[in-house]
């Protein structure tokens, strides 16, 4: 009886065990059009197409798995994934923990507020910062946006959400005063919530707030140099031959491929 119980326990622990034979890619598919889950349960989106193309070019088999954003990098570090692609910006804090490929995209960011808010009239970044003093700003847990709010809007209160649509719904409910997300994400959210939200202030980039990072990249475990070299080459060729631009136009309607300085 005892051994039976122990072996069941062990079986439970090892149920998820899998050795690496193909590349495992982690993503948090709640971020359309970057990545989301369609009705059939498949992960689709810009990142999905990018990673498929990367895998094709490095001649690897890739399995994409979906999990919560804030657990992606810890999972990568312990070897659950070989790569993480999830609209993830390169930041110093993250770069200490993992290696990033060359950036493949750089999306614009934006504040948004409830429709009809006075903040929609503000055009300059500095004015918006001043107007947001003492206000509550919704961001996603563990995102670069959280870091931006903490660093540049110290008098505002960041409120951490698990999901983007929860930020949108709470904006609409009037529970928070503003939200900070990617422009493309707002567009997606506003489409489903006609007339409830308005964008505020200018488009933002890492030039405005360094915490946004240096573009969006694929994360890999430290020390996977060979893989990184192959992925870097693939990304460079995709940027050069316009594949990224093509996919970007397909999913966003505009080109956010990373422009090297």
């Amino acid at each position: 009886m005892k051994t039976l119980a122990l072996s069941s326990l062990l079986a439970c622990l090892l149920a998820g065990t899998a050795m690496a034979d193909t590349l495992r890619v982690g993503t948090s598919a709640d971020f359309p059009p970057w990545e989301s889950v369609n009705e059939a349960g498949d992960v689709i989106g810009f990142d999905r197409d990018v990673i498929d193309e990367v895998c094709k070019r490095i001649e690897a088999e890739c399995n994409v798995a979906n999990q919560a954003f804030d657990g992606l990098l810890p999972a990568l570090q312990v070897g659950k994934f070989d790569m993480v692609i999830s609209g993830m910006s390169i930041t110093e804090e993250r770069a200490e923990q993992v290696d990033f490929s060359n950036a493949y995209a750089e999306p614009p960011y934006r504040f948004a507020v409830a429709a009809g808010s006075d903040l929609t009239k503000i055009e300059k970044r500095e004015d918006l910062e001043a107007a947001l003093e003492g206000k509550v700003i919704g961001v996603q847990t563990g995102s670069t946006h959280e870091a931006v709010v903490r660093a540049h809007l110290p008098k505002s209160e960041p409120r951490l959400y698990e999901r983007n649509e929860q930020i949108a719904d709470d904006l609409n409910a009037g529970r928070i005063d503003a939200g900070l997300l990617e422009q493309s994400v707002w567009e997606q959210l506003m489409e489903a919530r006609e007339g409830q939200l308005s964008l505020a202030g200018p488009l933002l980039s890492s030039a405005d707030y360094a915490e946004f990072g240096n573009g969006t990249a694929i994360a890999m475990r430290k020390g996977s140099d060979d893989l990184k070299k192959r992925v870097d080459e693939a990304v460079a060729s995709m940027l050069a031959d316009g594949k990224i631009a093509e996919l970007s136009n397909k999913w966003f309607g505009y080109d956010l491929s990373y422009k090297a300085e």
Partner: protein, 235 residues
């Protein structure tokens, strides 16, 4: 696991302590207050009281607290009529929503405890009161209720621990109590173990403090020898 991060994690986790205590104590007290009328209604003769109370406890005890929390926070917040009502200043705040949801949940479990205890008070007590000419109201406040609550002290002490554990769910509606800050810290530092273990130790410490407090109360006010089985745990 590095001791450094333990040291770093401690002040972070302590940031959530205040909110955890506020949620726990407020939800517990509110839950106890709501449980009394609910428990009485469960035991009432009139079906008009008995049925609504029974349905309420059935629904609350039959579904997860997380669902109830989301219904109250995300669900109600999307209804314009709610946003225009006088309740909005309260329901607008995640903290109040958390306290209300946990309190409503706790009340359903405690109501069963109260109802059960009332059921076990011997009929002879009522008869004795009537023969002594004690009024209905005093029979209630001086004889029935003190018995119920003094007998149920161990269960009430147990309930506050359950409420403490439930308070961790408040992190799901943006409240940065202990579990919330621990999780946000993990997302930033990628060091899961130290933070969650530190948080766990803090929860155990709070739990022991409450347990100790209730032991004291039990020693002072408890009725021994009438212990009843613990009620269903709330989750």
């Amino acid at each position: 696991m590095s001791p450094d991060i333990f040291i770093k994690a401690t002040p972070i986790v302590l940031q959530g302590l205040q909110l955890t205590l506020i949620i726990t104590i407020c939800s517990f007290v509110l839950g106890q207050i709501l449980a009394l009328p609910l428990g009485l209604a469960r035991q009432a003769n009139s079906p008009l009281l008995r049925w609504p109370a029974a349905i309420y406890t059935f629904l609350i005890r039959g579904s997860p607290l997380l669902v109830q929390l989301f219904i109250i926070y995300y669900g109600l917040g999307q209804i314009p009529a709610v946003r225009n009502s006088i309740l909005w200043p309260i329901l607008r705040e995640p903290l109040y929503c958390g306290i209300i949801a946990i309190a409503l949940n706790s009340a359903a479990y405690m109501a069963e405890v109260v109802a059960g205890a009332l059921r076990r008070v011997p009929k002879g007590q009522t008869e004795a009161c009537i023969s002594l000419g004690i009024s209905r109201r005093h029979r209630f406040t001086d004889v029935l209720l003190p018995q119920v609550y003094r007998e149920q002290l161990p269960n009430i002490g147990n309930e506050i621990i359950l409420v403490l554990k439930s308070s961790s769910l408040a992190s799901a509606i943006t409240i940065m109590e202990i579990t919330g800050v621990a999780r946000a810290f993990t997302a930033r530092t990628f060091a899961p173990f130290e933070v969650f273990i530190t948080a766990g130790i803090l929860y155990l410490a709070i739990g022991f403090a409450f347990t100790f407090l209730f032991r004291l109360l039990e020693r002072r006010y408890g009725i021994t020898g009438t212990r009843t089985p613990a009620p269903e745990a709330s989750a």
